[in-house]
């Protein structure tokens, strides 16, 4: 065999170091897991013992935003409060929205907290806890674009986020010429700013946030759809779902819900949400 060039040795050494570094990271991870499992004596069965693993497509302000591992947002603060009350450690995992329910079904997380509307289609794959937010859709457009309402979308190119109720609405309820769906809400906003789509249909609070953050965009109108957000859980996780529901009810009743709601939406929560319940079909 030919002798290896010293440079080749250097490259090999570098590769070994990188791999070793990755290996150490992995060890750390498993240590934490052991630590958590020894202290968590609650009977709740979760993907990782002692931890509530939450899937969320971040960013989607004001519901989920910030940098990991300490994400924030209405959903995240709410689920953190729930995890605290269940004496579970919260672990939020950023994940694409279009596969979020499949991944939940596969057991990658315990809960999806990602501004998810309760729909019958989703209900076939997952179970929802009680509603925690009443949502509407909104049409976001460039200022002065002259789109007045849903009728104004006829023949236009409309953007939305893939797999969302906004995308369904654009496809089913408008006369848009084309509906373009993007992986992240932000990509849809960028396309709108660049003039590649004429309007974006997305949940109202997200649209308001975008209008506040991005130059030249405005919320044209909100669209009453009567949607309810619910945390989604795996289909057979009945005891965890009950526990989440109990904690959520507690949070709604003792005023913590209103506190978090005011922080993100700057107003009193509607009375209907405080006693809203949902039975999985």
């Amino acid at each position: 065999m030919r002798k290896l060039d010293p440079r080749a040795w250097a490259v090999l050494l570098g590769m070994v170091l990188v791999l070793a570094g990755a290996g150490c990271g992995g060890d750390d991870e498993s240590d934490k897991q052991d630590g958590a499992s020894s202290q968590g004596d609650a009977a709740l069965e979760t993907v990782r013992e002692g931890t509530l693993t939450v899937g969320s497509d971040i960013p989607f302000p004001p519901f989920e935003q910030g940098r990991g591992p300490d994400y924030e947002g209405f959903d995240i603060d709410l689920i953190r409060e729930i995890a605290n009350r269940l004496e579970l450690e919260l672990r939020v995992q950023d994940t694409p929205f279009d596969t979020i329910f499949r991944d939940l079904g596969q057991g990658k997380f315990d809960v999806v907290a990602s501004a998810t509307t309760i729909t019958p289609e989703r209900e076939r794959a997952v179970d929802f806890a009680n509603p925690y937010y009443l949502a509407e859709q909104a049409i976001l457009a460039e200022q002065g674009a002259g789109i007045a309402g849903v009728e104004g979308l006829a023949g236009k190119t409309v953007g939305a986020q893939k797999g969302t109720t906004g995308a369904d609405y654009a496809n089913d309820e408008t006369d848009a010429k084309t509906v373009r769906t993007y992986g992240e809400a932000d990509d849809a906003y960028n396309a709108l700013q660049a003039g590649q789509v004429d309007a974006v249909i997305i949940d109202l609070p997200a649209a308001q946030q975008a209008a506040a953050d991005k130059n030249g965009l405005e919320v044209v109108t909100s669209v009453e759809t009567g949607e309810e957000y619910g945390f989604a859980l795996q289909e057979e996780a009945d005891s965890l779902r009950k526990a989440v529901n109990e904690a959520l009810t507690e949070i709604k009743q003792d005023g913590t819900y209103e506190e978090i709601y005011r922080e993100y939406f700057d107003k009193k929560p509607p009375a209907e949400i405080l006693d809203a319940t949902h039975m999985p079909s």
């Binding site: 279009d98 893939k162 084309t178 373009r180 993007y182 992986g183 660049a194 003039g195 590649q196």
Partner: protein, 249 residues
């Protein structure tokens, strides 16, 4: 295992969604054909610019090398995102018409053309290196002979060097072309409904991933025959350059 079969090989779903996914695949093919043709041409232009002789043309050579280095070193996905995000503003800033910043030529949506542009500039750089290998593989004596017959550098390239060089590098160019075809799926991030994006749309709607498998099968139906063609071309070349083989087939 049943879950995997149900999630990825639901034949009913594949049948129902075949039309939609196939429409996406046609988009993929069109994107691959147009940007592939442009990248092949642009790569040759870059390779020739890189070979320009003489001191006065050194800046052109350096600029070409810098271009090739830059685009070989940046992920295509980034190029797509940057072009799609910036081109409308650049065109507006330069006072160009809207149809340049947001091109919708020949009835194709603008993400299609951003994709064509990004793939052409990126793969042009890869292919330029393949052409260069071919040009530098032609014996020096060929150029010297052509020049001593009174041909200019350009004429020698056109009539003597390039025809020989291109013939040698057809198999590696085809390999790059197969890679290009697969990379068209990256244009899905800017909402072009090509085959992968079509599959993901179906996945988001039905919570079932079988449409992705269907897309993979459509790809294979095209890429496997292309790989066989590359093999045959290579075998033919091997025979031509091997001692004792018939000189031309």
């Amino acid at each position: 295992m049943d879950v995997v079969l149900e999630q990825y090989l639901d034949l009913n779903l594949m049948g129902e969604e075949f039309g939609f996914v196939f429409k996406g695949f046609l988009e993929t093919l069109q994107l691959a054909l147009i940007s592939g043709f442009l990248a092949l041409a642009w790569g040759l232009v870059l390779a020739l610019l890189r070979q320009l002789p003489g001191k006065p043309l050194a800046p052109v050579r350096f600029a070409t090398i810098a271009y090739i280095d830059a685009f070989r070193g940046v992920p295509l996905l980034l190029v797509i995102l940057i072009i799609s995000g910036s081109l409308p503003f650049v065109a507006e800033g330069l006072g160009l018409p809207r149809s340049v910043g947001i091109p919708q030529w020949f009835g194709k949506p603008d993400p299609f053309w951003y994709g064509v542009f990004a793939i052409t500039v990126t793969y042009g750089a890869y292919m330029a290196e393949v052409y260069r290998a071919g040009i530098e593989g032609v014996p020096r004596g060929q150029m010297e002979a052509a020049r001593s017959l009174g041909m200019s550098h350009g004429q020698s390239m056109r009539h003597v060097i390039v025809p020989q060089a291109v013939r040698r590098v057809i198999p590696p160019l085809l390999n790059d072309y197969i890679a290009l075809m697969k990379d068209t799926s990256l244009v899905g991030v800017i909402a072009l409904v090509e085959v992968v994006e079509a599959g993901r749309t179906v996945q988001a709607e039905t919570l079932n991933s079988s449409a992705l498998t269907l897309g993979a099968l459509m790809f294979l139906a095209v890429t496997i025959p292309m790989a066989r063609i590359v093999d045959r071309l290579l075998a033919g070349q091997q025979a031509r350059f091997t001692r004792g083989a018939p000189s031309s087939a």
